[in-house]
């Protein structure tokens, strides 16, 4: 059990960063792969709208589902971190008078909660963009042009 706890302690910062940046990374991959695959499949020298024998629709659909799932996972993780630390936003109220000096632990906990909340909201934005990409698949034909 101690080793599990130790592992958890060590993994925490990495997981926190995943919670903060996971959605951003997933969206970046979604955008670049989606765009890149369409450029390849629809280039003037391409014979058919598919890449490596798989149709573009399936490619982009699969990307949307997989990367959407990564973003949701990051968001859930962010939510857990946020619940753990609770809200200790030092900027909401201005202390009227002097108070005890803060411990390093207090500072860290406030900052972790801030990052977690950031991850929660940011992952929402990135999920929205990934979902939009999936929606466009329902409305547009691959390689159609204006």
């Amino acid at each position: 059990m101690r080793s599990t706890a130790e592992l958890r302690r060590r993994a925490a910062p990495i997981l926190l960063w995943f919670a903060v940046l996971g959605g951003a990374a997933a969206w970046t991959v979604h955008l670049l792969l989606g765009w890149g695959l369409e450029e390849i499949a629809c280039s003037p020298v391409s014979a058919s709208p598919d890449v490596l024998g798989v149709s573009l629709t399936i490619w982009i659909g699969a990307l949307t589902v997989a990367l959407g799932a990564v973003t949701v996972a990051a968001g859930l993780l962010a939510y857990r971190f946020w619940r753990q630390t609770g809200t200790t936003d030092p900027n909401l109220h201005i202390e009227p008078g002097g108070s005890d000096p803060e411990s390093e632990e207090q500072v860290r906990s406030g900052r972790t909660g801030f990052m977690a909340l950031f991850g929660l909201a940011a992952n929402g934005l990135f999920l929205l963009m990934i979902v939009y990409g999936g929606v466009s698949l329902l409305l547009l034909r691959p390689c159609a042009r204006t």
Partner: protein, 207 residues
Amino acid sequence: MTGDARALVAPTAEEVAGEVPAGRPTGWWGMVMFITTEATLFAALIASYFYLRFQSTPEWPLGGIKTPELSLPLVMSVILLSSSAPMAWADRGIRAGHVGRLRLGLAATFVLGATFLGLQFYEYVTKLREFTPTTNAYGSLFFAITGFHGTHVLVGLLLILFVQVRAWLGHFDRTRHLHVQTTAMYWHFVDAVWVVIMLSLYIGPHL
């Protein structure tokens, strides 16, 4: 002492001399950001390569240029990648205070890096007989990307030479070796970029 009180008394340079300081130095972060922006530059060039590759005719390389042969580039790869080992060894050495290891490791890295550049020069001489940067867009991409990387190897060699000179002048010890560390970071970066170039410019056209 509370955490806050600790914050109030900042340690001085004298106090930390003799022990390895905690935290990342500013120079380390400076090099990380420099490498980040350089890596993005290489990414832009490699992306341009693939963009032109997939936008133009199915024929690649263009204009009847032969697909690059692999034996020499593979030898070059082995040499350049293996040069990261003595560099890491030298970096670790000075952290433990071994100036001798630093000098030796830097020298080995320099020799390997210089050999790589020499081979690249030989490769250019051979290739230029077949095609040049002005032949077509493929030639432009090939020479621009490999040439830009070669320039980075050259800069890395100059850095290593500079650090070597300073190592002999006794500028580095267990606690003062930031420039060794940043030079090593830069060198490893240049090696990593070569892996990407190898995969996209040399092996890529075979796939």
